[in-house]
């Protein structure tokens, strides 16, 4: 389990660095173009190329996020089964309907699991698995990841929806609170007189 956690974190680091490098390459490419090139068809080609470059890493990040979230609740063989089931259904929906709906399903499932994690954190359940312990740290991590799931879901599936910005603000609030709680958990534990 500890090795799985480590490899998931390592995978996250590698994927994030790869996304960073993709953005760097995009920056170099776009800054060498002629002025006002955004008004030419060349710009659309560049956008398409960037999407092609970033998409595999973004999907990989989403999949890792989808795997990371159930690991709070399930262990060993159960975790493999749950992840297998989630990814299987995602894949099935992706090939029968479309990729967006498939990833949308993964996000909804991850968000529901994360809500259960938050509820269990509040009641002080011992069955939750986190890299580090502490009420605010776990609550913060759960809120942050829930916020990220909602954020990605909003951008992927609700970009043209009238409620896009409302959902965006909900995600922003969760991400902000999540970061505050997880980064300053010790201080908050001290204020709330909770055991770390």
């Amino acid at each position: 389990m500890k090795n799985l956690n480590f490899f998931l974190i390592l995978a996250t680091v590698i994927i994030l660095t790869a996304i960073g490098i993709s953005f760097f390459v995009g920056t170099v490419y776009s800054s060498t173009q002629a002025p006002n090139w955004t008004g030419t068809p060349l710009y659309q080609t560049y956008l398409d190329k960037m999407n092609v470059a970033v998409l595999p890493f973004a999907v990989a990040l989403i999949v890792v996020l989808g795997i990371c979230i159930p690991k709070r609740l399930f262990k060993d063989a159960d975790l493999l089964k749950v992840n297998g089931l989630l990814l299987g259904i995602t894949f099935l929906i992706a090939i029968t309907i479309d990729a967006k709906t498939g990833i949308g399903f993964l996000f909804i499932a991850a968000a529901l699991i994360q809500l259960v994690v938050i509820a269990l954190t509040f009641v002080g359940s011992k069955r939750l698995s986190f890299e580090r312990t502490g009420f605010f740290l776990q609550l913060g991590s759960a809120l942050l990841h829930l916020g990220l799931v909602i954020f990605f879901f909003d951008f992927l599936l609700l970009a043209d929806n009238p409620d896009h910005l409302t959902v965006f603000w909900v995600a922003t609030l969760l991400i902000g609170l999540g970061m505050l709680f997880s980064f300053y958990s010790q201080e908050l534990n001290h204020i709330g007189h909770r055991e770390a």
Partner: protein, 318 residues
């Protein structure tokens, strides 16, 4: 518009601000000597306070100048003669950005403890470098708000030389710029949060350099503490910028523009740094975390410079 009063205020800012910034630069050079020469090192804290006070005085001078603009340059509808609005310009636009960043860095140096003197000396040298760069590349007192000044002069010269239709067009453009940019709530919130984040990343960067060299866990903790503060502020700052960008740049090509790319690069690299740090005790992760931290800070510098040197919707230079 009371242009005379505006020009007088502008001249005063130039006459007071320029010597003040040069004086601050001299203080910072003395700080370098005090930081490097051990018998004098314990006095460096006083110099830190003096530098912060000097930078804050300059900042207050700029605040006063912006207040004068608010009072002296009301924008009237040229057709009806009704007051349409006043310029409420944030104190971190045009050449004031690097100054604001430097001011925040000097503030943090007051709260860093003298536990690791070599580290503190390095950050002091970093601050001096920032002050020198501000003085010679982005001095807000040489020509305060040059872009705004040019626009105001052009507006006041042309508004009376055109017909009613031309007057209304010029006024509409000025009003659009005032409401959409200078007076925008976004301009008051988004940039200062980013500069607040950048200033903490500077300290984190120096701590990472020392952490890599010394394998000192205290320095890793220091790097992490400053980076996490910056990361929260950066994330919130970037997120708050999104609704504004989506509205202000509707229909314009801003996604994957160079500035957006480097900004996202900076954010993902800091995210990678925090994830990597979770397993710092694992073989190879100390160095990996440090290198990712350095790359992340390099992207902070690239993000700042991109506004000036790269073309795109965020650009002021190209």
């Amino acid at each position: 518009m009371n242009l005379n009063s505006y020009f007088m205020a502008r001249t005063m800012v130039i006459n007071l601000g320029q010597p003040l910034l040069y004086f601050t630069m001299i203080l910072s050079l003395v700080l370098v000597v005090f930081s490097l020469y051990q018998p004098l090192r314990r006095y460096s804290r006083h110099l830190n306070l003096a530098i912060f006070t000097a930078l804050l005085s300059g900042f207050l001078l700029l605040v006063w100048f912006h207040y004068r603009i608010y009072l002296d340059l009301p924008l009237y509808n040229p057709i009806s003669g009704v007051l349409a609005g006043r310029y409420a310009i944030p104190v971190w636009v045009e050449d004031e950005k690097l100054y604001f960043w430097t001011l925040l860095l000097s503030l943090w140096l007051l709260v860093i403890r003298d536990r690791d003197l070599y580290f503190k000396a390095a950050v002091n040298i970093g601050l001096t470098l920032f002050i020198i760069l501000t003085t010679f590349t982005s001095n807000p007192f040489i020509s305060p708000l040059p872009g705004f000044n040019k626009t105001i002069i052009e507006y006041s010269q042309t508004i009376n030389a055109v017909d009613a239709n031309g007057k209304y067009q010029l006024f509409s453009m000025a009003m659009g710029r005032m409401q959409g940019f200078y007076n925008s709530v976004y301009m008051w919130i988004h940039p200062p949060l980013l500069f607040l984040a950048y200033s903490t990343f500077v300290i984190s960067f120096f701590a990472i350099i020392f952490m890599l060299n010394s394998h000192d866990h205290d320095l890793d903790r220091l790097a992490y503490n400053w980076a996490k503060l910056g990361y929260i502020v950066l994330t919130v700052g970037l997120l708050l910028g999104y609704p504004w960008a989506a509205e202000a740049w509707k229909g314009q090509p801003w996604w994957y523009s160079p500035k957006i790319n480097v900004t996202l690069m900076m954010w993902v690299l800091y995210t990678a740094y925090f994830h990597s740090r979770l397993y710092l005790h694992r073989k190879g992760m100390w160095k990996t975390t440090g290198i990712i931290g350095i790359l992340a800070f390099t992207s902070v510098i690239a993000t700042y410079l991109s506004t000036y040197v790269l073309p795109g919707i965020h650009s002021v230079g190209g």
